[in-house]
């Protein structure tokens, strides 16, 4: 800590396990006491927050294996045995399998659509001069700071009139439209950083504009596409507001609304353990994906804010 190199942990620090692990060897102890107190406090806070983040998640996992009675009587006790039947009940009877399927379809369709359409628009806006270029760019960017709920009231009727309400493909189109602002913003900046010479060479060799785009520019933009793809995947997978308004048919529910619906209806049926199993079921795939592709996920989610 601070300016000094310290040796064996000073007694006051023993409360912070992380500090203890980090204690280097050699060099005489010459820290000020005040510094040590600050150090314990800081490390304590770090450990405490990690604990606060993990505890609710572990509690949910644990609860999903308990029976209904013990969920209410002793929320913190370990399950008497692992009630896997909660999980199978949630998967089949509580429609979790349908919600998963709907979510996969909606997110799969909108992710591909967002990336294809977003990169097309971004490429044109980044690389070509034409009247209205700036206007269209700012029209897209503006969508990032406007409250979506304002548009959702008329949008409901627009979608309804087109016969797209409560359909998977309707939801996909809306997801794409609302993902475009950030995608265009991010990819325009990305295409601008790519060298122009390669595309020019291809063009001189007789490749058309669209061929140059699909065969040369898109492969070059792969890192940017991965970042923005992860960003959109998580945003669309976790989306709650758009489906709540535009997707009110229970058979078409996506995971997030399905779970909320379940929480309401399970209150009457009293099947809380099944609900917890559903919650954990919905949490695990994204957490697992995050742990596996941690670096890419973090890059994808923070890329926009750092620009």
């Amino acid at each position: 800590m601070k300016t000094t190199e310290t040796s064996a942990p000073v007694p006051a620090e023993s409360g912070a396990p992380v500090a203890k692990v980090g204690a280097p060897l050699g060099a005489p102890p010459k820290e000020k006491k005040e510094g040590a107190v600050l150090n314990v406090f800081s490390h304590g806070m770090l450990v405490l927050w990690a604990f606060m983040v993990v505890m609710p998640l572990l509690w949910a996992v644990m609860t999903s294996f308990k029976d209904d009675k013990s969920i209410f009587s002793s929320p913190w006790s370990l399950p008497d045995k692992l009630h896997f039947d909660n999980w199978s009940r949630a998967w089949t009877q509580a429609n979790m399998s349908d919600y998963f399927l709907n979510t996969v379809l909606v997110v799969g369709g909108s992710l591909i659509g967002t990336l294809v359409l977003g990169s097309m628009a971004a490429y044109v806006l980044a690389r070509f001069d034409f009247p209205g270029n700036r206007f269209i760019y700012y029209l897209f960017i503006g969508g990032m700071s406007f409250p979506i709920m304002l548009a959702l009231v008329p949008l409901f009727y627009v979608v309804n009139n087109m016969g797209l309400l409560n359909t998977i493909h309707g939801l996909i189109l809306v997801y794409i439209a609302y993902s475009l602002p950030f995608t265009v913003f991010f990819l325009t900046a990305f295409f601008r950083t790519l060298p122009t010479s390669v595309a020019e060479a291809a063009f001189v060799d007789g490749a058309s504009h669209s061929r140059t785009f699909f065969q040369i520019m898109l492969p070059m933009a792969k890192p940017g596409l991965i970042s923005v793809g992860i960003f959109n995947f998580l945003g669309q997978w976790n989306q709650y507001m758009l489906p709540t308004v535009l997707n009110t048919d229970e058979d078409k529910h996506v995971l997030t609304q399905g779970l909320v619906q379940l929480a309401v209806s399970q209150g009457y049926k009293g099947d809380w353990s099944g609900l917890f199993a559903g919650l954990v079921m919905a949490m695990l795939p994204v957490l697992a994906a995050y742990i596996l592709f941690q670096r890419q996920v973090v890059q994808g989610l923070t890329a926009g804010a750092l620009k």
């Binding site: 601070k2 300016t3 310290t6 500090a19 692990v21 980090g22 280097p24 060897l25 060099a27 150090n39 800081s42 770090l46 927050w49 606060m52 609710p56 969920i71 913190w76 097309m120 044109v124 070509f128 034409f130 269209i136 029209l139 897209f140 969508g143 700071s145 406007f146 409250p147 709920m149 304002l150 548009a151 959702l152 009231v153 008329p154 949008l155 409901f156 009727y157 627009v158 189109l173 439209a177 609302y178 475009l180 063009f203 669209s210 785009f213 997978w237 976790n238 989306q239 709650y240 507001m241 995971l255 997030t256 779970l259 809380w272 917890f276 919650l279 941690q294 973090v298 989610l301 750092l306």
Partner: protein, 308 residues
């Protein structure tokens, strides 16, 4: 690169721009128009009523409550979240003791672990987080009160979401819980790009950690903090508060309108009460608040840009 340029530009822009115009731009324009009508949303007939909706809004106590709560969300949440995140990020990246032979500046041991764990809530849907905490807050069988009982605090058993004085704070705590990690990681990336010799110089001059933070880290990180602030504020006014308030609270928005926020009120007026035009009026107010917030943060936060 000129040959067939315009055909190509139009061909590539037509679909994305058309989709965007139809589903995003057009509804926005429509909703501003509707705010001057008496449209219910249930029937296609409506007529112009001028500023009636706006004057009704100014007399609507629930609107003022929702505005108050939304403003609190936009102003307080970023301060708490970003403050905590800056502290954690600084500890993780710069707070480590100097190891012999190691770099002058280093993070605490286990910094990688903290960054992974803190980020967990960010990948979960806010709807799932809200459901989880709804159970945790349950006064009888929830995790929090039974934990309090477990450590002998039988007398301290708040109603949490059932208590009008506490409910709003409970909801805000969940938003802080779910977003701090994102900013820790964001600021960590920013701090990693600050050159180590700046810290070295400060340490040679005898600066302690607190001084280092306020004199070096914060000024050099200011741009990131500012854009993070706007980002958090927009989320807190919009989608995130809709999810947490709508899912967790009774009513939703209760008890006794103590947690209602503008975005939820728009939703309820339009899709529950059949007052679409009035809903868009509140939506316009939300738009004004959002833009004013973003402009204020950008303006107040403007500082001389530091190059390094």
């Amino acid at each position: 690169m000129q040959h067939g340029k315009y055909r190509f530009v139009v061909g590539f822009l037509a679909v994305p721009l058309g989709l965007y115009a139809l589903f995003v731009v057009w509804p926005f324009i429509q909703s501003i128009y509707y705010s001057f009508t008496d449209w219910t949303g249930l029937s296609p007939e409506f007529k112009m009523v001028g500023f009636d909706n706006y004057s009704r809004m100014l007399d609507d106590d629930i609107f003022w409550k929702s505005l108050q709560h939304s403003l609190l969300f936009a102003l307080l949440l970023p301060v708490v979240t970003i403050g905590l995140a800056l502290f954690f990020a600084f500890m993780i990246n710069v707070g480590g003791r100097r190891r012999k032979g190691g770099p002058v500046i280093s993070g605490v041991r286990g910094s990688g672990f903290y960054k992974i764990v803190y980020f967990f809530p960010q990948v979960l849907s806010i709807a799932i987080v809200a459901l989880l905490f709804q159970f945790a807050y349950n006064p009888d069988s929830g995790a929090i009160n039974s934990l309090l009982r477990g450590i002998g605090l039988d007398s301290v058993q708040p109603l949490w979401l059932g208590d009008p004085n506490l409910a709003l704070w409970c909801v805000m705590a969940v938003l802080v819980w779910s977003t701090v990690g994102f900013f820790v990681v964001l600021f960590s990336a920013g701090m990693a790009s600050i050159p180590a010799d700046l810290y070295e110089a400060a340490l040679l001059d005898g600066a302690n950690r607190i001084t280092t933070f306020f004199r070096i880290t914060l000024p050099l990180l200011w741009d990131t903090v500012q854009s993070g602030w706007v980002y958090m504020g927009i989320l807190a006014l919009g989608a995130e508060s809709f999810a947490v308030v709508g899912i967790m609270t009774t009513g939703p928005g209760g008890p006794d309108y103590s947690t209602t926020v503008m975005v939820l009120y728009v939703y309820q007026k339009a899709f529950r009460d059949g007052q679409a035009a009035y809903a868009t009026t509140i939506g316009v107010a939300l738009l004004v608040v959002t833009l004013a917030f973003a402009a204020a943060v950008m303006r107040l936060g403007r500082r001389e840009r530091l190059e390094y």
